[in-house]
Amino acid sequence: MELADKGNNKNLLSILQDVQKECGYLPEERLREIAVMLDMPLIDVCGVATFYKSFSLTPRGRHQVKVCLGTACHVRGADRIVEELERKLDVRRGETSEDGEFSLEAVMCLGCCAIGPVVVVDGKYYGQVTTAKVESILKTIREAIYAR
């Protein structure tokens, strides 16, 4: 990562990105450390951390399920897919299931419009998803989990 000089506000975003990558979220302790390190008011660090969607202040699930809600996928019925997943995983979009297994996220455009609607589970892309296919996708994932 191309970093400019550490030790000033200039790099807050890239530092937060590194922590997000490392921990899967931004723990409160780390944010306090960052505020001290950069000599910034803590509320400013929180303000930045909560402004950007890439950051999460709460831990995410072990498995990330992302549904593309870009316009092209939307006109192909992506909304129904998200609702179906919310029902089947018993979790609302943007949140993590109680057992910490799944986080469901609606994302804006993965740039794979040709195969929309698109669902990505742990980096694996599923294209041309329909509400009927959701069950089989989840089945595949659950089988992989139990196989561990």
Binding site: E2, D44, V48, T71, V75, T131
Partner: protein, 650 residues
């Protein structure tokens, strides 16, 4: 393809000529080359596995010196991925699986036989095409930028040098003064490809004239419009073209540092850019005393973190500075006071990519492409309910009809065209009555839309325009930074009214209230996001007022989308009791049995549409109704009427 010639620092333009000559010599142009596009969307469809299969087969048959393979960025015809193009004949094979690799190499490449089943077939006529340039999708395009995506492996600087890469930079540093460069860009008529369409040359001039010895150039790669991915494909596929453009721009403006601000949802683009920057430094195109000219320039990558508003210049600058992405008042403009208070020039990815092209071929040549006030080509992402989904590069001034029908192959599944949404959430919908509109900055603005970054979402008769307006308003409301009352609260209130309309709670006067809100939000918001947020609402009211009225007065959704206004109904006379819908209903709302008519319990039904999806087409028993209540169900246990023509077990 690993670079065979050793890496070395190029000290001047003579060196560059020599290195280029050596590279070209080390490559035999006579052996066939299999090009495998492998951008993010291609990989999502399995192009990596296909590429591996090809490499495996070549090794297996020891054909390393008889057949070359090049893995590139996005080719543009996304519909056909994973695909390969075989040079030099440019034979195009689509939808390959790894198992096809052996056959393609042995039959097609070595024995020169064309494999019919892998050729692209026109969805309307069934006609098959062998060569890339014959395929209707490509024929009408003018791929000045995209064509290079197939000519270079983005991880190889040698590929870029082989196609005369960095030649423009060399010419500029040797022969032109900064003012001459700015003049050339001005004369070319290049306008910003990110959306607003300011004359690039004029923008550069403003920044050049600004006081200060520290200046910056920025590449805005925060392509936030959903459905737009042109910038991603340029950065993934040909990052050096953008880098070269930025170095030239830095020279012209007097900046010694550049930033590429790229959204973090594009990890492959970030990787390829970083690699390209490293290589450019290794070869001396970035760093001190570039090509012996005395000019120094370097580029850093800054990643976005998921905020659409950071595509706006002042918000982008705030983001790089580690702040919340809140736009600020202009004046002062970034050209005078931008990043860290210094004069800054920000341009879009595609704008930068056009710069080496213009400096190589000249403003005179460039200004002949396009039409009067809109010169050059533009890349559009043609997506949605269209047959040929992909990236399309055409001269500005091409009509919408040509893009949708000649290149796009018309509407998928035989449906009727309804509208094209251009410019993303800041744009508007163009109806069928304006299909002959030439695509240029002014015409689109007059029609109530904008060029934007180039997204073109095609919609058909099954798309509800209120749903679209609501979708975009929700998106913008979510992405609003929240500073301006008009944008933050205004979009929320517009969303509430649109939701009411979509749920059958619309009232007389709602359209007028939406228009009033739209005007004030447009007038009083600080930045481009707020100022253009009402566009989807305004344009759908302008062209589809009848749909609004149907929702409000008749409580009917003509396209059958708005859930509260539709109901699913199984026609008892058509139902053949096959049990498929019953088994697939996610909320078990369907009752019935073998030989007994299936009935949907309207109270349990969640309108997911699965039953309509799975009912076998030969029965066609499920209907979607709107504007009237579903008929009373027949009694439980009613037997089906067996149709002689249909057989459940067939």
């Amino acid at each position: 393809m690993p670079d065979k010639v050793k890496a070395e620092r190029i000290r001047n333009s003579k060196d560059l000529e020599e290195v280029r000559a050596r590279i070209l010599q080390s490559r035999s142009s006579k052996i066939p080359c299999i090009v495998i596009p492998s951008g993010t969307c291609c990989q999502a469809r399995g192009s990596s596995e296909v590429a591996c299969a090809f490499q495996r087969e070549i090794e297996k048959h020891a054909l390393g010196d008889k057949v070359a393979v090049r893995v590139t960025g996005c080719g543009g015809f996304c519909q056909t991925e994973p695909n390969v193009v075989i040079y030099p004949e440019e034979i195009y094979y689509q939808k390959l699986s790894p198992d096809d690799a052996e056959e393609v190499i042995l039959e097609a490449v070595l024995r020169g036989r064309v494999i019919d089943r892998l050729l692209y077939a026109d969805p309307n006529t069934g006609e098959r095409f062998t060569h890339l340039n014959d395929i209707p999708f490509f024929k009408k395009q003018r791929r000045l930028l995209l064509a290079n995506n197939l000519r270079v492996d983005p991880t190889s600087i040698h590929d870029y040098l082989a196609i005369n890469g960095y030649n423009a930079l060399s010419k500029v540093l040797q022969e032109k003064t900064p003012d001459e460069v700015i003049n050339e860009i001005k004369q070319s008529g290049l306008r910003g490809r990110g959306g607003a369409g300011f004359t690039t040359g004029g923008k550069w001039e403003l920044c050049r004239k600004a006081r200060g010895d520290v200046k910056y150039v920025i590449c805005n790669a925060d392509e936030g419009d959903p459905g737009a991915y042109m910038d991603r494909s340029l950065l993934e596929g040909n990052p050096h073209s953008v880098i070269e453009g930025m170095i030239i721009g830095g020279y012209a403006i007097g900046a010694s540092e550049g930033f590429i601000y790229v959204r973090d949802e594009y990890p492959l683009a970030v990787r390829h850019c970083r690699l390209a920057i490293e290589k450019a430094r290794e070869y001396g195109f970035l760093g001190n005393d570039i090509l012996g000219s005395g000019f120094s320039f370097d580029i850093k990558i800054s990643m976005g973190a998921g905020a659409f508003v950071c595509g706006e210049e002042t918000a982008l600058i705030a983001s790089i500075q580690g702040e919340r992405g809140t736009p600020r008042q202009r004046p002062p403009f970034p050209a005078e006071r931008g990043l860290w208070g210094k004069p800054t020039n920000i341009n879009n990815v595609e704008t930068w990519a056009n710069v080496p092209l213009i400096m190589t071929k000249g403003a005179g040549w460039y200004s002949k492409i396009g039409i009067k006030k809109s010169k050059g080509t533009k890349i559009f992402s043609l997506v949605g309910k269209i047959n040929n989904t992909g990236l399309v590069e055409v001269p500005l001034g091409t009509t919408l009809r040509e893009i949708v029908y000649d290149i796009g192959g018309g509407i998928a599944n035989g449906k009727k065209f309804k509208a094209v949404q251009t410019g993303g959430p800041s744009g508007g919908c163009i109806p069928s009555s304006l299909l002959d509109l030439p695509i240029d900055y002014e015409s689109l603005a007059q029609a109530g839309s904008i060029m934007g970054s180039g997204g073109m979402i095609v919609m058909d008769e099954d798309t509800c325009m209120i749903d679209i307006a609501r979708y975009y308003t929700a998106f913008l409301s979510d992405e609003s930074c929240g500073k301006c009352l008009s944008c933050r609260k205004g979009t929320q209130r517009m969303y509430e009214i649109l939701t009411d309309i979509s749920e059958g709670k619309g009232e007389e006067g709602d359209i007028e209230l939406l228009e009033e809100l739209a005007l004030v939000i447009k007038d009083t918001s600080l930045c481009g996001l707020g100022q253009t947020a009402p566009n989807p609402v305004i344009s759908t009211i302008r062209y589809f007022q009848d749909e609004y009225e149907a929702h409000i007065k008749e409580k009917r959704c003509p396209s059958g989308v708005c859930k509260e206004l539709i109901s699913y109904y199984i026609k008892p006379e058509k139902c053949q009791a096959c049990l498929i819908c019953l088994r697939n209903c996610p909320v078990q709302a369907i009752t019935g049995g073998k030989g007994l008519v299936h009935i949907i319990d309207q109270n349990k039904c969640t309108k997911c549409g699965t039953c309509l999806e799975v009912c076998p087409p030969r029965f066609g028993a499920v209907a979607k109704l709107s504007g009237k209540k579903a008929p009373e169900p027949v009694l439980q246990g009613t037997e089906v009427i067996r149709s002689r023509k249909t057989d459940v077990n067939a």
